[in-house]
Symmetry: C2
Subunit: 314 residues, 2 copies
């Protein structure tokens, strides 16, 4: 698969502009005082479906030819990508087939249904997911849209950092969380293309440091779906995202679980916005590594805000 470049991100941006929210960039005097850095939060928790995933899903779906689009799209996911794909498909008026593990949280099932996604339940194993997705493809000729191992998805995710940098200007550092690496890949390509001197860091839970290990060993080391609270970051890189990250990212930093919870609490309490644990990992990394960030202007991709309000860690 070809690595997308900044031109792809620019085209993706034009393609998705009519459909996405232009999300705000927020600042917090309080958090700046606490961290000693000058932080700019790109609020993808305010994106449609509550996460940046809507950018990539919309790009992949709007780019389909009419002939391909007619047959619909398919993915296996229980997270924000499933909701994003369902809504983006519904906006284009085509079916979205979502394969979900039968033990998915009820709130996520309801969300996919509310966006008119056609759900197939399966056993909670990767094999069952892939088998069920293949059965749907054989039956419907729907197009598989992987949550991150897909150049169109990556190009779409890269539009968030593009908006951030065009709005704020030159930043010393940009930090994005890393799970499968789609957001990080798009963020890094955008950042290094617009302002090559900006440092790009990835933020990862220490409990799920497979991306850091892969980055440092330059070989793909899959995660074992670790039970980090940052549930959006449990997946592994793909060969595609690893190759982009090796080319464009300066380093991958990790944060402890308690720092992630503290950072999430800080964002909720000081900024009055709701972010999911995965979105708090960049701030957690900053609080754990003050020497890298003090006095710097730092852009942070707040990846999403989908969290079960009945089950908070504080």
């Amino acid at each position: 698969m070809q690595i997308p470049n900044y031109k792809d991100i620019d085209l993706a941006h034009k393609r998705i502009m009519p459909f996405i929210n232009r999300t705000p960039v927020l600042k917090s005097r309080n958090i700046n005082q606490t961290t000693g850095a000058n932080l700019y939060f790109k609020c993808e928790n305010f994106q449609r479906v509550g996460a940046f995933k809507y950018r990539g899903a919309t790009n992949a779906i709007q780019k389909l030819t009419d002939d391909n689009a007619r047959n619909g799209v398919v993915t296996h996911s229980s997270g924000n990508h499933a909701q994003a794909l369902a809504l983006a498909a519904s906006v284009r008026g085509i079916p979205a087939y979502i394969v979900m593990p039968e033990n998915s949280p009820k709130s996520k099932i309801e969300a996919v249904k509310s966006y008119s996604g056609k759900i197939t339940f399966c056993e909670p194993t990767l094999e069952a997911r892939e088998t069920n997705a293949q059965i749907i493809i054989d039956r419907t000729a729907a197009t598989m849209i992987h949550p991150y191992d897909n150049a169109d998805i990556i190009a779409g995710q890269g539009t968030a950092a593009k908006e951030l940098i065009w709005e704020i200007g030159n930043l010393d550092i940009v930090v994005a969380p890393v799970g499968g690496g789609g957001l990080l890949s798009g963020t890094a390509i955008s950042t290094k293309s617009i302002t090559p001197e900006t440092i790009v860091y990835a933020a990862e839970p220490e409990m799920a440091n497979d991306a850091q290990l892969s980055f440092r060993s330059k070989t793909l080391i899959p995660s074992n779906y670790p039970n980090t609270i940052a549930d959006g970051l449990r997946t592994s890189l793909s060969e595609l995202t690893l190759s982009i990250i090796l080319q464009y990212v300066d380093d991958i930093l990790t944060a402890k679980e308690e720092s992630i919870i503290k950072a999430m609490y800080m964002i909720w309490q000081r900024m009055k916005i709701i972010v999911e644990p995965s979105a708090a990992v960049p701030l957690a990394v900053i609080t754990e590594n003050p020497n890298l960030f003090e006095g710097k202007s730092v852009g942070i991709i707040l990846s999403g805000g989908n969290i079960d309000l009945d089950k908070l860690p504080f």
Copy 2:
């Protein structure tokens, strides 16, 4: 005391502009679908100190002559007004003496301290508060700044609705919560001055319906500090705010406690922003009275976002 007019609000706005946050106006497709109305949320939860109170406090403090300012300001409050006054005083470089009941929540005490407020603790009775405030005034010649029975405070609070209407244009209805009536008074004066045909409703917890009773009987009926979850709305109107409300407000509508909690949950979940229970009362009123709001464009003052994240009602 003289009733402030729109000119006072306009002057207040010029006075406080360098100090306040210009808060955003947010919309939610989801909540519009649920309510059938077209809602515009003026996000004073993003105001400094997390509440609209910073507008009034800044106006009152910035308006003091240098001679008066030097002696500082005093209030008795355990809520957002105390924090707002402390910060606004600190910005002007003058002392703020805050009389707080000794049983105030620790989080509120810490917040006032963090804004350099000088706290005097007292017994948790109105008499003790007033006595202690008077002792401070006698000793320091500080200026008493009442949280709402004060024309400068009211003029400052009115700037939120002014910004909302100038940004969005003609609205069919504007809704603000009512406790002591400072925000409501300022909102109503702004709204009826800029767009006289706009209906102004107040939103009040049914458990704390003293403003509704006062409005309908045209006499001040004090509250008995009812234990509504909307803790910012437990206070009573003053003669000043009642007279403004009788002149400018179309009606006062109430909401049940469970509707307030549901509305707060809806705002958190769908809009990804944190509002305190008092701020959710307008949406609660809208969900209880769909016939009044369906098909209408409605401005809502989201009054604040200060809530103890460890003690949520859901």
